[in-house]
């Protein structure tokens, strides 16, 4: 799962720097004519090449995105109130979001398997909402924050142990870069 998230993050970041800014334009425009320069042989590589600044930026953003996406917010049973630990993490996430103005974040609300499917769908919404409200009041523009509930349908850990329940009662983040 983590790998997939990471691959996603990398591909999103790559897409940002590889593509032109207007995605739609790229999709409809015909391929550009080949440039003369393209026929030149590539310059010989230096022994210790300097890192491409774009590459460094890409790596920096990727690390920040992975940081946010690995920061799950955990909740008490049947609660959507943010714990002190949850607020600590949200402050870190909020700081990153305030620095990186192009990050847009989807907050997913999840529950453990106890209780009914329908009520858990509502509880997931309330958890996502609690996180979004905190980030908004922390100074992140609400236009960058979206939310969704998956109820009990997408547990992080399978099983019916207390430990699994605790890990599944969470809000999780997905980060995109706005163009």
């Amino acid at each position: 799962m983590k790998t997939i998230v990471k691959v996603l993050a990398v591909s999103v970041a790559l897409a940002l720097f590889a593509c032109a800014k207007k995605k739609e334009a790229v999709e409809v425009a015909p391929p550009p004519p080949p440039r003369v320069e393209a026929y030149k042989p590539p310059p010989p590589r230096q022994e210790a090449p300097k890192e491409d600044p774009l590459e460094a930026e890409r790596r920096r953003l990727e690390e920040l995105m992975n940081k946010i996406m690995s920061d799950d917010i955990y909740f008490e049973y049947d609660q959507a109130t943010l714990t002190a630990a949850a607020k600590d993490i949200l402050v870190e996430v909020g700081d990153i979001l305030k620095r990186e103005a192009r990050f847009a974040v989807l907050t997913e609300g999840h529950t453990d398997e106890r209780g009914t499917e329908s009520y858990n769908m509502g509880l997931g919404m309330r958890r996502a909402d609690a996180v979004v409200k905190f980030l908004t009041s922390y100074g992140v523009a609400s236009s960058r924050l979206t939310k969704v509930s998956y109820g009990e349908e997408q547990p992080k850990v399978s099983g019916s142990s207390e430990d699994a329940f605790a890990k599944n009662r969470r809000a999780a983040f997905r980060v995109q870069i706005k163009h």
């Binding site: 209780g115 009914t116 499917e117 329908s118 769908m121 309330r126 909402d129």
Partner: protein, 419 residues
């Protein structure tokens, strides 16, 4: 010590036995059931190897699941056995093949006189004999009770297929199951249209919960209310088909009503709480729903336009998934006690609470169209399976045996006469 070991072994054997047979939980029945004899059918010399179940087995299960009968099984006519079981009537018959068609004769007899009360004859392919037997059950119900039975109805539910939740539809007794949805995401919370031609369900295929409609004659799913953000738990009005459902709200979820044909929708119940699980009254003029505005989910009732909200449930901390009985006098719902969900019924004012289940988690009650039985899902056997019990909680019978099966929704009685 030896005693407890043998008890454990005995329980293990029971659990094991539950894995591959249909089990019946013989709980005490408080409602009166009518004893009926079921005697082995006579099969002619044709090849019946394609017959999936002997007629008496299908009929006996139908009668038990009807919530009206208790079955006295007998291989042949046995006056002592039938009288001892107080069965004043019995059913038996004959299965024969003529020119490639199966001919099923069913006869309802009076036990004491052995006189035929009523006889029914059905001609069908071998594959359709089950359908004929269900019709026979409905005819016997009509003959002895004067009402329409539900043996020819269907259940929709959610089954995990390749680890994904999919909506399936089967005969009400779990046989002849068909997969309805196939999108490789979560598809759940099925509900029937009033005429049984469509299934409404919720899917996460677009990354958020949304209600879809599937015409059972077709193969495509239609997204309903595309302008709404996150919709789930649909319920169709039994008279005009209007959908009640939940949509994401200010904080939590609200109750909305919408027209699946035109796509118009309006918000009915909105608070800063979670409002879910709407369920129509039998005449479609009012509805039940759950709200946690008091802290934890409780059942409320409102008129169709969302006005006159009244709290229904007062006992227990977590009451959810309420469904209105077809007669309108009772509700069934699930309630959490000690971390486990169980099914209860009560009057519509919340009084006369009756607990119907006690083993494992028991969820998502749905009434049979005549209100005599309740289908639900339970994990009492170790995996989630669908069960049907009488409305007093007795006679719980498992109708699915493999995989994970949840969220049953009973189809409606079709209009028209007795088959």
């Amino acid at each position: 010590m030896r005693f407890s070991t043998s008890v454990v072994l005995f329980l293990c054997a029971l659990v094991y036995a539950q894995q591959d047979t249909i089990t019946m939980d013989i709980a005490v029945s408080t409602d009166k059931t009518l004893p009926i004899g079921v005697i082995n059918f006579e099969l002619d010399k044709s090849d019946w190897s394609k017959l999936e179940e002997l007629p008496q087995k299908t009929l006996a299960r139908d009668f038990e699941l009807s919530g009206r009968f208790s079955v006295v099984e007998s291989e042949q006519y046995n006056l002592f056995k039938l009288s001892q079981g107080r069965a004043k009537h019995y059913v038996t018959g004959r299965l024969s093949m003529s020119s490639g068609q199966a001919r099923l004769e069913c006869k309802l007899y009076a036990t004491a006189s052995k006189e035929v009360v009523k006889g029914f004859v059905y001609t069908s392919s071998v594959e359709q004999i089950r359908t004929s037997l269900h019709k026979c059950t409905d005819n016997v119900v009509h003959q002895l009770w004067g009402v329409k039975g539900f043996a020819s109805t269907q259940l929709a539910w959610v089954r995990k297929i390749n680890d994904k939740k999919q909506v399936v539809v089967a005969d009400y007794d779990g046989f002849r199951r068909k997969q309805i949805t196939s999108h490789n995401s979560v598809n759940f919370m099925p509900a029937w249209s009033p005429d049984n031609s469509k299934i409404y369900f919720t899917s996460l295929r677009n990354g958020r919960p949304q209600i879809f409609e599937r015409n059972l004659a077709g193969t495509t799913d239609k997204l309903l209310f595309p302008n709404l953000d996150q919709t789930f738990s649909p319920a169709a009005n039994p008279k005009d088909g209007a959908l009640l459902f939940s949509n994401v709200g200010q904080s939590g979820a609200d109750i909305w009503q919408g027209n699946p044909q035109t796509g118009s929708a309006s918000r009915l119940i909105y608070t800063s709480s979670i409002e879910v699980s709407p369920s129509w009254s039998p005449h479609g003029t009012a509805f039940l729903f759950s709200s946690d505005k008091g802290g934890q989910p409780q059942i409320y009732m409102a008129l169709r336009d969302g006005s006159d909200v009244q709290r229904v449930s007062f006992f227990g901390k977590y009451n959810e998934s309420a469904v209105w009985s077809p007669d309108g006098d009772r509700i069934a719902y699930c309630s959490m006690d000690g971390g486990k969900l169980n099914i209860y019924t009560s009057d519509i004012d919340g009084n006369n609470v009756q607990k119907l289940t006690s083993e494992g988690n028991n969820e998502k009650p749905t009434w049979s169209p005549d209100g005599m039985s309740i289908a639900f899902s339970s994990d009492r056997s170790g995996s989630s399976q669908i069960y049907i019990m009488r409305r007093d909680g007795s006679g719980a019978t498992r109708i699915t045996n493999t995989g994970e099966n949840t969220s049953p929704a009973w189809s409606n009685l079709t209009k028209g006469g007795i088959p």
